[in-house]
């Protein structure tokens, strides 16, 4: 099996021609986006170079401490990103639920995936732990983010409906069931749609990377199927944990709506 073609600096530099082309188009069209394009290109290049060197170091000198540290960093970034992405003001209680469900749901799925499905050895093997962790945590973050926005919006928009249900003797759970169900649906829909188009509409990044580096497409596909199932499981788990605990933060101990 052939190995991957190592890109020479001039070859990589040649790829930046696409950005020069893009800059040319926006200038001709008079679209004021040059600054953003240059900054995002520089950021992307710098971030990836840095990550590349850090990962190369960690892979060469693998140690459980490094793996755990990176995992903590990824989880913290994901939780912070969910807070930042939310347009609504989040209560402290809801923020705690977001952090708890994000971390516990994705870690549980990641551990099951690595230790039961792939069976990695040693347990902290960064070559598997870090990229797979990134995919599972990243997708769960997107799911929870969507769930947060739908839950908060739903609770605010349907305040009257929830209160009217409570007046009839509904429990907070029954009164918010429809909103929770809609939020779950919206949060997992992108993952489901992604699975439907997989291999036809898009050739996923991980699989492409494996194929380019010389892995047999059949092995790459096996990994891709496994990771897609892992992502679907993790997104569902984190979102359902968040919603099942999250809706309760809108009610007090007297089952009164507090918005």
């Amino acid at each position: 099996m052939k190995g991957i073609i190592d890109l020479q600096p001039w070859q990589l530099a040649a790829a930046y021609l696409f950005i020069i082309l893009l800059l040319g188009i926006v200038r001709v069209k008079g679209i004021a986006r040059e600054k953003e394009i240059v900054i995002s290109t520089l950021r992307m290049s710098l971030q990836l170079f840095l990550t590349g060197y850090v990962l190369a170091y960690i892979f060469d000198f693998s140690h459980p401490g490094f793996t755990i540290l990176i995992l903590i960093f990824m989880e913290a970034f994901a939780v912070h990103n969910i807070y930042k992405r939310s347009k609504a003001v989040l209560s402290k209680k809801l923020k705690r639920i977001i952090a708890f469900s994000m971390v516990s749901g994705s870690l549980l799925s990641l551990c099951y995936f690595l230790f039961v499905v792939i069976h990695i050895s040693p347990w902290y093997e960064p070559r598997y732990f870090i990229p797979i962790g990134g995919m599972i945590i990243g997708n769960s973050m997107t799911g929870v983010s969507l769930g947060v926005s739908r839950l908060v919006d739903g609770m605010n928009t349907h305040k009257h409906l929830i209160e009217s249900s409570l007046m009839l003797g509904a429990t907070p759970k029954a009164a918010s069931r429809q909103i929770v169900n809609n939020a779950f649906d919206a949060a997992i829909l992108p993952t489901i749609n992604n699975m439907v188009g997989m291999g036809i509409v898009s050739l996923p990044g991980m699989m492409t990377g494996q194929i380019l580096s010389g892995t047999s497409p059949t092995i790459a596909i096996e990994y891709q199927i496994a990771i897609m199932l892992g992502i679907a499981g993790s997104v569902s788990l984190t979102v359902i944990m968040f919603l099942q605990l999250g809706y309760k933060t809108f009610f007090n101990s007297r089952s009164q709506l507090e918005i």
């Binding site: 009257h160 007046m167 709506l257």
Partner: protein, 214 residues
């Protein structure tokens, strides 16, 4: 039945003392913004007072499970929501919420007759007119057969003749079944003609409590 002592809620309500008896029809009247809705929300425990004590059958509300309380003391808001689906779905929704056995179509039709809504159970509830929706919501509450009905302007979307019919039915039903009916109304006529007790509220204070028709 309900007893309120030194009850304060934000700067909306400030009630020194109020007693609402069981088995009677009590009407709460007053200008808009006087705190009428807030008062029945307090009785339903949808909100809690900032100060003072409210008791139901001599037990402070804080000592009663709020969901259980609301199943015995059901409230109908002024603009009740209509859930998507048929008239049957809407009628059964209340029973589902309060975890009571679902009623057969015969009973559902009978309750629709009571509120003068002659519609098929399969009809789309969202296509009903404002007055019909209000009567459907009232039928939903009647099906629950609670001890106390807290009704916020139950006839606000009805024309005068339907209003009389519906309120008359409500009063007759609650008297016959020995239920307690607490009604917020803007209509002096409804209060005068149908209530045993008229409670008048002004700027959050009870300014008078007098006997009605009896």
């Amino acid at each position: 039945m309900f007893s309120l002592k030194s009850v304060k809620y934000k700067d909306i309500l400030d009630i020194e003392e109020l007693f609402i008896p069981s088995g009677k029809v009590s009407c709460i009247v007053g200008e808009s913004g006087s705190g009428k809705t807030t008062l029945i929300k307090l009785l339903n425990n949808l909100i809690s007072p900032d100060a003072g004590i409210i008791t139901y059958k001599e037990t402070p509300l804080e000592d009663i499970n709020p969901v259980e309380l609301r199943r015995n003391v059901v409230m109908l808001p002024q603009s009740p929501p209509i859930f998507s689906g048929s008239i049957r779905d809407n009628l059964l929704m209340g029973l589902k919420f309060s975890e009571k056995p679902l009623a057969a179509d015969e009973k559902l039709n009978a309750v629709l007759m009571n509120v003068k809504l002659e519609k098929a159970l399969e009809e789309n509830a969202e296509k009903l007119s404002g007055g019909e929706k209000q009567r459907l919501a009232l039928a939903r509450v009647l099906l629950l057969e609670p001890e106390v009905f807290l009704l916020d302007e139950p006839s606000s979307a009805l024309d005068e003749s339907t209003e009389d019919l519906i309120i008359d039915m409500l009063v007759s039903y609650s008297k016959a079944a020995n239920k307690t009916l607490v009604m917020v109304t803007h209509s002096q006529k409804v209060a005068r003609n149908f209530s045993d007790i008229i409670i008048e509220i002004k700027k959050g204070k009870v300014i008078s409590k007098k006997e009605g028709i009896e």
